[in-house]
Point group: C2
């Protein structure tokens, strides 16, 4: 019999919108996990065709201790479905089941499910409570925490959405056992991210424990999730609505979003694009004179060891770098047409910077398929 | 030459989200009206096919003193278009024009334009600033004030949306000169509303000045808009997100929403449905023993004098009252399937109450076409 790790808690400190993140094994099946949420007669589980068959019935059983009716809606799986059409399936389910403005939504799945269920919760009757139940590593360490919700537009990622905080986040580490290899690697990209922008000790720990993480050793995963959530909680607690500091959590994401949009959503996983994007962002930091080349190499090697791509795809036959630039100009951090990059401003420090197009072109040429 | 009324101001007090309502003549054309908004390189005017040809170019000219680029998107006119499809036209315009997260939206039109532009502003890049420029009486006295935004779902009105406050509200009384008669009456429904729920002195003033209002006398309109905004400001200032008190502003709306949804959006104007709904709500209040029959008659007479319907339509061949009840059960104020009505709890006082279905059926039978 496996020794259960006792659940640990990280708190997101946002005044009246503060909430806890529970991290541990066996949480989904335990009715106690779901005690103390705002009272309601009904709950709606939002999940997808991949995660639903594995966990939805188990969550439903545990929730039945707290709600008269526990409904479930199953969305198609994948970033390509992070659209208004899919979002509307949630609204349809809410209205068809007569759900009122106290109904609690449970986002059971990865980042896409969490972003859509969160945006649906923010919007339904102008706001109902919701709970994040992330089942992928990426969602546990990043997207389920901090209240960013939204959907994609054909012209840009996460272009419509809301800052809307969950009532709590429940990271059941057991769910990571069923995660496909490729998704585990994608999640590791967001874990690695916290090193270069905030904590070189954690970066070193990841380097030492990468094999254990890829082998899904429970203690290693527990520490990776907890430390990631702690760092994210610290940043979000200082800047909930991304007035400034919070943007550093987007390290690698500006290049990454261009890759996702340029290839078409769902071709590369978000974490894969971010992994590759971090290498590009590090290279840009180096060319801006902010970090030495050894640190770029160190990050590239770690991203590669995590099973992630380190070379960007070609996005256009002619003027590939120009295509990357055009896609990056619709990034939410852009202002007046000027792209702003999250760069490393020394080891373990991040900053938001504009960069000359010519320099960015050099980086893209050096880091993508020619 | 007409004597210009100097602009008056009402303040909505919501802490960091406080904002002013300017009420006066000639405001749209005056560049000073638009000074002091959050700095941005671009603005987007959201209007419709009816209001746009009359005022969009004039607003655009006045805004050009403040923004490098002033874009405009024109939506189809009417409640039937308060849908996701129409909302998406705003997102398309924002993205096609490369609008960043500082872009300011201007809602130029009636309640439908304001609700959609506001929801688009709440959602675009998770929130950009917006300004309400209501051009109908209904929008000036009610929908542009208080931060409720949203769109309709085929199964219910305003089912998706956000509480999202504008930077300011600008009520140009000159815009009411071009308002069709039917729309003026619809706006008067929301003006009348403030009497029975909050201010019997104002109700008396409306009775005395109804002819002047229907003749669009500037001083009468100015007072009606100002006093309505003051009452709404007082309520919203105490209960921004409709935890309780704010619901009283929905007097007549529960019955009214059933009429709108039952006939199909756009058949009756929102204000027409509210006018008739107020008569039903007053009748219900009387049958609950809360007000005497003379007050019901007084309100019915005033609604009728305002040019509004006082008898509800038949919504079903069989069991008309049952159809009303079914439609009201998806109202946002319902909880656990129980409809909650805003009733008059004595003259000039409102309260939220459940009522037995049998009693509600009596009211519907007494107040709708048989």
């Amino acid at each position: 019999m496996q020794t259960a790790l006792s659940a640990q808690h990280v708190r997101i400190d946002l005044g009246v919108r503060s909430y806890p993140i529970a991290i541990g094994a066996g949480l989904i099946d335990n009715p106690q996990t779901w005690a103390g949420l705002p009272p309601a007669s009904a709950a709606l589980i939002v999940t997808n065709t991949t995660v639903g068959p594995l966990y939805a019935q188990r969550l439903q059983a545990a929730l039945q201790a707290h709600y008269q009716a526990v409904h479930c809606v199953t969305l198609p799986d994948g970033e390509a479905y992070k659209t208004w059409q899919t979002l509307h399936l949630i609204f349809d389910a809410l209205l068809q089941n007569g759900c009122d403005r106290k109904t609690v939504l449970f986002a059971l799945g990865g980042g896409v499910v969490g972003d859509m269920a969160g945006y649906a919760a923010a919007s339904y009757m102008r706001g109902v409570p919701f709970v994040q139940v992330p089942t992928t590593l990426l969602a546990q360490v990043d997207s389920s925490v901090g209240g960013k919700t939204g959907i994609n537009h054909p012209l840009g990622k996460n272009m419509m959405g809301a800052f809307y905080q969950p009532e709590r986040v429940v990271c059941d580490l057991d769910a990571l056992k069923t995660l496909p290899e490729r998704e585990l690697s994608a999640g590791l990209a967001e874990v690695i991210k916290y090193g270069p922008i905030a904590d070189m000790v954690f970066l070193h720990w990841i380097e030492e424990n990468l094999d254990a993480l890829r082998a899904r050793e429970p203690e290693a995963l527990a520490h990776a999730v907890k430390r990631s959530c702690e760092i994210k909680a610290g940043v979000v607690g200082q800047d909930e609505r991304e007035g400034g500091l919070r943007a550093i959590l987007n390290f690698g994401h500006t290049f990454g979003h261009a890759i996702e949009a340029g290839l078409g959503y769902g071709q590369w996983l978000h974490g894969e694009a971010v992994g590759c994007g971090m290498v590009m962002a590090a290279e840009l930091s180096h060319r801006l004179g902010l970090i030495d080349t050894a640190l770029v190499q160190r990050l590239r090697a770690l991203v590669q060891r995590a099973g992630l791509p380190v070379t960007g795809p070609r996005l256009a036959e002619q003027d590939n770098a120009g295509r990357y630039l055009a896609l990056m100009r619709v990034d939410k951090k852009a202002e007046g047409g000027e792209i702003r990059f999250v760069v490393m401003d020394g080891p373990g420090q991040a900053a938001l910077r504009a960069a000359p197009d010519a320099l960015v072109r050099e980086v893209i040429d050096a880091c993508s398929v020619q």
